[in-house]
Amino acid sequence: MVNPVLIIAVPLLIAFLMPFFNYIHKKLPAFLALLTTAFNVLVISRNFSAIMSNPMVIEIGGWQPPFAINLYIGPLALLAITVINVVGLILSVYNLNHDYEINDKFYLLFLMIIAGASGMVMTGDLFNLFVFIEITSVAAYGLTVFNRGDSYEAAFKYIIIGAIGSVFLLIAVGFTYASVGTLNMAEISHLSPNLSPNLMRIITLLFMIGIGIEAELFPLNLWVPDVYSEAPTSVTSILSGAVSVAGIYALGRIFFTLFQDPALFSYLMIIGVITLIVGELVAYNQENIKRMLAYSSIAQMGLIVTIISINTSEAIAAGLFQLINHSILKVLLFISAGVLIKAAGSKKIEELNGLGNKKPIASLGFSIGAMGILGVPFFNGFVSKLMLINSTLNAEKIIITGLILFATIVEIAYYLKVVQKLYFSNRDKKVFKTANIFIPVLVLTIFVFALGIYPELITNTLNKAASELITNTEYITNVLGGM
Amino acid sequence: MINILTTALHFIGITIFSAALGLFFMGIARKIVARIQKRYGPPIYQPYLDVIKLFGKKAITHGFIFDFGTIMAFGGVIATLFFVPLGAWTLYSLNGTVVLIIYLLAIASLGMAMGTVGSGNPQASIGISRALTQMLGYELPYLVILFGLIYKYQTSSVFGLAQAQAGGIMNWNLFTYPVATVLAFVILIGMTGKKPFDAMIAPSEIGSGPVVESGGKYLGMMMLQKSITIIVELALFVNLFLGGADNILSFSIKMLIVWILATMVGSLFPRFKIEEGVKFFWKWPLIIAIIQVLFIIY
């Protein structure tokens, strides 16, 4: 039983020691990043079954200021952590063989973002959550600019919106503390039914805006297209695959555990649907492949939020499954797209024709990713799609189902265009050399098919995570039970 | 065995008879047209002389398909003859034959089409394309009328439909369904390729259309085919609308009357363009036929 605190502590430590390691040897940072993420995954796997049977509560006493901050890792957090760190691991492998300029500071920030995201997910204290959100955001701002050029502008927009989000968050935390008197999540959820409904709504709203920026809700997600398309590929992947997961987790905690108010779920659903539809419609017209994928990410986030806000156990399970699949597929898509862009020398979709033969692995990765998102049978996206349609129809939300299916058709429209261009066109332009991404693609593909053919692999975990989210009593008793 | 032999002989006999009768009708038609145009015209037995002459001449051929097409055309129309009751000479009285006859006539047209287009002369192709277009034009109202008749009499055999009109002149479809009969008459003019529906042959325009390359025995077989086709079409009309007949003589007389009327009507008009022809068939005849059949059904 390894102490899960190490998941946060070790990356942070290694991160800040990076300049030192760089001084020793130029290549060391990359390998160390790989080792750290591998270590994280190892820690998680050691604790996996233990946490599944009994959520783990760890109190960090002593070296923090007087508020007893605790970590809470239940099945839900476990799921999120696994995704975040596995994605981190795969991207560290990818980083070894990168095709852009990065140095030790990159790895510093990379490890920091992983630590921050993991922290967001594991914490049981509200202010701690805020701190980790800030860590993650700052790391993200920094990571974005490694591509130079237009990424400066993108990062700047991100900073602006992020700053506003932080303000909202801080106000929300302040209100919470003022009204409930504590910042511990379990206590808040225990005491929140006593709040006046209006106050609770305002607080929830403030939180939603603060966290919605990370969770990419409309209209707070407008930084996404710029950042995703200008940042280096592995940054985009980590943002899309890991940070968004943390964002959804935090959103879930606020809406389900801390301040449960059924009326607000309908707002969340509407926002989710708008995000979905807007994302898909705008993605359809894009000429730049990374922007297209960015809008697709936004749309998928909207979809997940919509599903989760239906507030039934099977819906949440379906939404979580969709989230996991989204992370896997988006990382695959972005990695492949990165190689294709480098090979074609341009981000425009028009320029990508005929790369199917020249860059088989990247094209195959892209196609598998696209087919997964669209829901081809035996791919993971298919199972999650079926599950989510099942849950929406069971909840009698027929219009939502129709809108989801409409969005899928628009998705089909724009993804298929790219796949066709890759494989069925001829190429007469130059093809540039690119990095080898065989291992990441292979590993991700194995995940895609494993989940597609044997979803039973994680259904147990999903069910537990869903039930944990829906009722907050277990959370409260686990943390405060002793008191 | 004997049965088959007698049937075969019967069949050959009927074929020869129909061919002869058809040529006779063709001669009569020429005479009538000539008289209407205030001239004497050729003798009535002229077609016989033509056929004999043609079979005596040498001809050219453009290859296998030219031969095959001609044989198929003639063979098809002979096969069709088998199913048509000619007065008392009914070889096949089983059901389901009306539609069959129409389609078998199509084999003949297809054969002729194939053969003549295979000659390589574009005028033949033009003629065939017109012929097929026109066929679409007149078949449609014709089949509508047939639909009505089959539905009314609950049988699709020509013989059966003829029998259903037994029992006196007033039972003829001519009098029970006069509108349908008139329409079928108009269609008959189209089917036999008389003016104003002869754009497909158009002697002065496309060199007689499909038969432009045929000479000698080919032209002879085409003439015979045409003659038998005329008989088949007339026989169909008589059986469906004029109550058939008990013996071949009265049958032939009925056919003759219809033929003379058709020729006389046909000689009055100039030629329609193809699309005018098709439009013509699809306007009033089709509408009237549909109304008529609706009456029958309800």
Binding site: I161, I164, N198, I202, I213, L222, V282, N285, A317, A318, G375, V376, P377, L386, M387, I389, N390, L405, I409, I412, Y423, F424, P455 | I12, T15, A59, I60, T61, G63, F64, I78, A79, T80, F82, L94, N95, G96, L100, Y103, A106, I107, S109, M114, G120, N121, S125, I128, L132, T133, L136, V144, I150, T155, S156, V212, E213, G216, M221, E275, I290
Partner: protein, 621 residues
């Protein structure tokens, strides 16, 4: 084990792909062997009507059962699929030797084969949907691989249209599942009978939509022309011969297995048939007429035959929708016959494309002199298509006519007649412009196609005549299907079929026809022998002709007829769909321009505005 027949092709697909990279023929050979094997196995399944197989899955605490069963309808479709795959794969062994994407083709083709087997043997909607999706995806990839410029766009349109239908069905499936807890077709049938008519009709229509699209019925027929015309030349026979039929299979499931008739028992009826069934039949009639008119206009031979396929589908739907024993029999017969003669036509055309490299009819001519066997196949096939005795096409058309006349459906009959006579016109066009007429100088040197490509054509020719003379073979399975769906069977014997107003005896017809032909041959031979002259030596009113090109009448063969329908054809349904898609795209663009300004300050403003709006909304509500 039914599942094996689905997964063996799918697994073999991977081998075919890899091995085909080594040698060009290996992929097609593997496909042929696999399809032959499966065909053999399926034939052995005849009569084993109670064979079934379940796969149990448990996802998210829900127990799912995937059911597969063997029944006459599925069996027939399985046999049809395996035979078609076999014939086409034999053809492709030679015809794809220069095709760049042959590995991908065989890969997708094998998976397609497996998934169609999955579709027809599934007895619950979930399995059907899974394999239906697989089928659509693989055929999409195959069509995209066509050599023509429009291949990608046509495949794309095909897919989007199919997806709309498929997702509608998905919604219906899950709506039913949430109420019944099962996907099985039998359960669905029970459920649909228990709920209100409007509700169940909506559900059934939603279920039927993807099948209508796949079958190419009006108004979702617009993908057919593009897909057939631009697909690789060997795939068009499969598309037209089989994939359209899979849509028919689905429709039969909806119409007969979910008893449409029981559900609509108490609705309006027209001459003894519910209005809704009549609606389907009417759609079929419109499809027939539209397909015929549009076919006559085409200059590209594959597109012409594609439209012809749609109109034949209309026939089949008319037969099936009127739900009488004769109608069902006629529809099914026509379906089987259409598979045979349409594949033959497309294979013949593929052979021509293989040798000449073009699909435009006015660029060819006189090919009979160089490719006589191809011509013979084509001729037999169009005789069957036009429905002329003694081929099989006539029998099925005759039965359908009997069915329509029996019930007095005048308008349907008019459409059927129109389609039939019109078919003379459009089948003749390729015959005369491609095979007959003047041989172009650039085609002087071409030869007949290789033997392996001829074999499928011969087999199909024999089948056409065989089934024409002995319809009893087809009738035996069709009568089993009739009883399976609860309809009386039609009386038949080896050579005869009994209709409503008459019986059909093929043997007699065949004999008469032969007799007539012999007689005519006799006359021909007795006359004097004729002299063979060249093609350019024709009657030219005194002009001297040396240019074959100018002497070949092919372009706008039916111009007078086309003129009549010019305005009709100009109102293209395709353009309506296209403008719909464009409008959706415009909305997206509009949103992008107004909201996503790229301006950091405005984004910040949005955040605050968002809060204000939601706060007010929360206060008020």
């Amino acid at each position: 084990m039914l599942i094996n027949y689905i997964f063996i092709p799918i697994i073999a697909a991977f081998f075919a792909y890899l091995l085909n990279k080594k040698g060009k023929y290996i992929g097609s050979i593997i496909t042929s062997l696999i399809s032959a094997y499966i065909l053999y196995q399926l034939i052995g399944l005849y009569g084993n009507w109670s064979l079934s197989q379940n796969i149990n899955l448990s996802i998210m605490g829900n127990d799912l059962q995937l059911l597969f069963a063997n029944n006459p309808l599925s069996w027939l479709f399985g046999i049809m699929t395996a035979s078609a795959t076999l014939l086409i794969s034999i053809f492709t062994i030679k015809s794809q030797e220069n095709y760049k994407l042959s590995s991908a083709f065989n890969f997708n083709f094998l998976i397609l084969f497996g998934s169609i087997i999955g579709v027809v043997f599934a007895s619950d909607f979930l399995s059907l949907f899974i394999f239906w999706e697989l089928m659509t995806w693989t055929s999409f990839y195959i069509i995209s691989g066509g050599k023509k410029a429009m291949a990608k766009k046509s495949a794309y349109r095909y897919f989007v249209l199919s997806a709309v239908g498929a997702y509608t069905m998905l919604m219906a499936i899950f709506m039913i599942y949430s109420q019944t807890g099962s996907f099985a077709i039998a359960e669905t049938a029970n459920y649909l009978q228990g709920i209100s008519t409007t509700h169940s009709l909506t559900l059934m229509f939603m279920l039927a939509l993807p099948f209508l699209t796949k079958a190419g019925l009006f108004p979702v027929h617009i993908w057919v022309k593009g897909a057939h015309g631009n697909a690789p030349k060997e795939f068009s026979p499969f598309l037209s011969g089989l994939m359209l039929k899979v849509g028919i299979y689905g429709l039969m499931v909806v119409l007969f297995l979910l008893p449409f008739s029981k559900v609509i028992e108490n609705t309006l009826s027209y001459r003894g048939l519910s209005v809704f069934s009549y609606l389907f039949a009417l759609l079929g009639a419109i499809t027939t007429v539209t397909g015929t008119i549009l076919a006559i206009r085409q200059e590209d031979m594959k597109k012409l035959i594609a439209y012809s396929s749609i109109s034949q589908m209309g026939y089949i739907i008319m037969g099936i929708a009127i739900a009488t024993p004769l109608g069902l029999t006629g529809g099914l017969l026509h379906m089987m016959n259409h598979l045979i003669f349409k594949s033959a036509i497309f294979l013949a055309l593929a052979a021509v494309i293989y040798r000449t490299g073009t699909t435009k009819m006015y660029e060819m001519g006189g090919l009979i002199f160089r490719m006589p066997l191809t011509f013979a196949t084509y001729l037999t096939a169009i005789i069957a298509l036009a429905g002329i005795p003694p081929t099989n096409g006539f029998i099925s058309k005759w039965v359908i006519y009997q069915a329509l006349i029996e019930k007095g459906y005048l308008f349907l009959a008019v459409a059927a007649f129109f389609g039939s006579i019109g078919s003379f016109m459009y089948v003749f066009k390729p015959l005369s412009t491609v095979f007959l007429g003047q041989l172009k100088p650039q085609h002087e040197k071409i030869k007949e196609v290789p033997f392996l490509m001829q074999v499928p054509m011969y087999i199909l020719m024999i089948l056409m005549v065989l089934f024409g003379v002995v319809p009893g073979i087809q009738m035996s399975i069709i009568s089993k299907i009739s009883s399976f769906v609860g309809m009386e069977a039609v009386n038949y014997s080896l050579f005869t079929i009994e209709g409503a107003y008459g019986a059909w005896n093929s043997l007699i017809i065949f004999n008469i026809f032969t007799g007539g032909f012999v007689l005519s041959l006799f006359v021909f031979i007795l006359a004097r022998k004729s002299k063979l002259v060249g093609l350019l030596d024709t009657y030219t009113s005194g002009e001297y002709m040396n240019d074959a090109e100018a002497y070949h009448f092919a372009y706008q063969y039916y111009r007078p007829f086309d003129r009549m329908f010019d305005s009709f054809a100009a109102k293209s349904l395709t353009r309506a769909y296209e403008s719909l898609a464009e409008n959706i795209a415009k909305i997206g663009n509009g949103i992008r321009k107004t909201v996503i300004t790229g301006n950091g300050q405005s984004y910040a403003f949005y955040a605050i505005l968002f809060f204000v709006i939601l706060a007010i909304a929360g206060w008020i509500i």
